[in-house]
């Protein structure tokens, strides 16, 4: 039961080169040899670069957002490629880069858990009815001036 529930995670852990980049999935590259240390089936060295996920910041102080993924042999190469990939059309102020395989991702089979209980509206931001009060306060303040 527990295994089935966490199947999504096991897939990610056991196949380190498996990518969430659709280009790799489309390429349908065969696994070619066993890793000498772990015994895992991996792609042959130099046949294929791993993917990195890129996060960019548009303005100092803002959150970093995921902007895409790319192929690279190491983080330094990933950075020089990411800079033009994702920073040539609009100005960006920072880049984060991480190996795709380092991302712990939970998407499949967890739809139920992500659902929100309709009886807990008090937790949603829209549940706070404070705008009336704020506007009233602003109005009063203006008059005072």
């Amino acid at each position: 039961m527990i295994n089935a529930r966490f199947r999504g995670h096991f897939v990610l852990y056991n196949m380190p080169i498996k990518s969430i980049d659709p280009r790799i999935t489309r390429a349908n590259i065969e696994i070619q040899e066993k890793d000498s240390q772990t015994g895992e089936q991996v792609l042959k060295k130099l046949d294929h670069w791993q993917t990195y996920e890129v996060f960019a910041q548009n303005k100092r102080g803002e959150h970093y957002s995921h902007v895409g993924s790319l192929h690279a042999p190491n983080p330094e190469m990933a950075w020089i490629l990411a800079k033009e990939q994702f920073g040539r059309r609009n100005k960006i102020t920072g880049i984060w880069i991480t190996k795709t395989s380092d991302i712990f991702s939970v998407t499949e089979n967890e739809e139920e858990m992500f659902e929100l209980n309709s009886e807990k509206v008090y937790r949603e931001a829209g549940g706070y009815k404070v705008m009336d009060k704020i506007n009233k306060f602003k109005k009063q303040n203006k008059k005072g001036n």
């Binding site: 670069w49 790319l70 042999p73 190491n74 330094e76 190469m77 020089i80 033009e84 990939q85 040539r88």
Partner: protein, 267 residues
């Protein structure tokens, strides 16, 4: 750079000889950027991997942008408009060095040229930031950021490939040996060098070359390559005086083909 503190904020403040020297300097910089920008753009769609294809094409575009800005500066100094300068001159009126004219070859050659040329370009712009000719100093400041990326990009690649496999290392070394005489052609002495130095406009090709050689030696030796001694190389000179390799003419014919069909067309 001379200790002279006079700043020329407009070309009209230069004397006749200084003006000739400044124009000569800007023409060779602009022509280098235009021709290498065009050459490097030949990789668009053919790059070794998608990500590098985009990065290399984007930098080629930066070079064309720099060429345009330099031609515009010449235009403001009473020369023709940028398009006319870029597309209508005869082959012997271009002042680019032989290095930028060579075909793209294989990617190792293009990468090595990218590294050697952009290292020289970065130093040239860096020294021009302190130029007494203010319009050129302003342009140099404007391009500093993008050139910093270009040199970083080239150095990471050089290091990566020179340390990867036996084949990639051998290819990088062969390309380096092939590029060195051509690269030294960037620094072809000019009759205006002394005048420009004394006027505080430009540090001169010889100074630039020493700084460049020191820098590339550092990067290439770190990458495990053997850098040829300057005394062993015969530089490929002539480009700055209008004598070009057999590769320039076909490039110009192709580059100018569309423009020449209708020079008056609005784009």
């Amino acid at each position: 750079m001379s200790s002279q503190t006079e700043i020329y904020s407009d070309y009209k403040e230069l004397n006749e000889e200084q003006l000739k020297g400044v124009k000569d300097l800007i023409f060779k910089m602009a022509d280098d950027e235009l021709i290498l920008g065009h050459r490097n753009s030949e990789w668009t769609g053919l790059g070794p991997i998608l990500e590098e294809d985009i990065a290399f094409s984007s930098m080629a575009q930066d070079k064309l942008g720099q060429a345009q800005a330099l031609y515009l500066l010449l235009n403001q100094m009473d020369e023709k408009d940028p398009d006319t300068l870029a597309f209508t001159r005869n082959e012997n009126e271009y002042k680019c060095c032989h290095f930028v004219e060579y075909p793209i070859g294989e990617y190792d050659f293009s990468l090595m040229r990218h590294f050697l040329f952009d290292a020289a370009e970065a130093l040239r712009y860096n020294s021009l930031i302190n130029s007494s000719f203010a319009p050129l100093a302003n342009l140099a400041k404007k391009f500093r950021g993008e050139i910093r990326y270009h040199t970083l990009h080239s150095e990471v690649w050089i290091d990566q490939l020179s340390k990867a496999t036996e084949e990639s290392k051998a290819r990088m070394q062969t390309s380096l040996n092939e590029c060195m005489p051509l690269a030294l052609g960037i620094f072809e002495p000019s009759e205006y060098d002394e005048l420009l130095m004394n006027s505080g406009v430009f540090t001169g090709e010889e100074n630039l070359k020493s700084g460049w050689y020191e820098h590339i030696q550092f990067v290439l030796q770190n990458a495990g390559l053997k850098v040829p001694e300057l005394s062993e190389i015969i530089p490929s000179f002539g480009g700055r005086k209008g004598y070009h390799t057999e590769y320039l003419k076909p490039l110009l014919d192709e580059m100018c083909e569309v423009y020449r069909i209708d020079p008056e067309a609005e784009w």
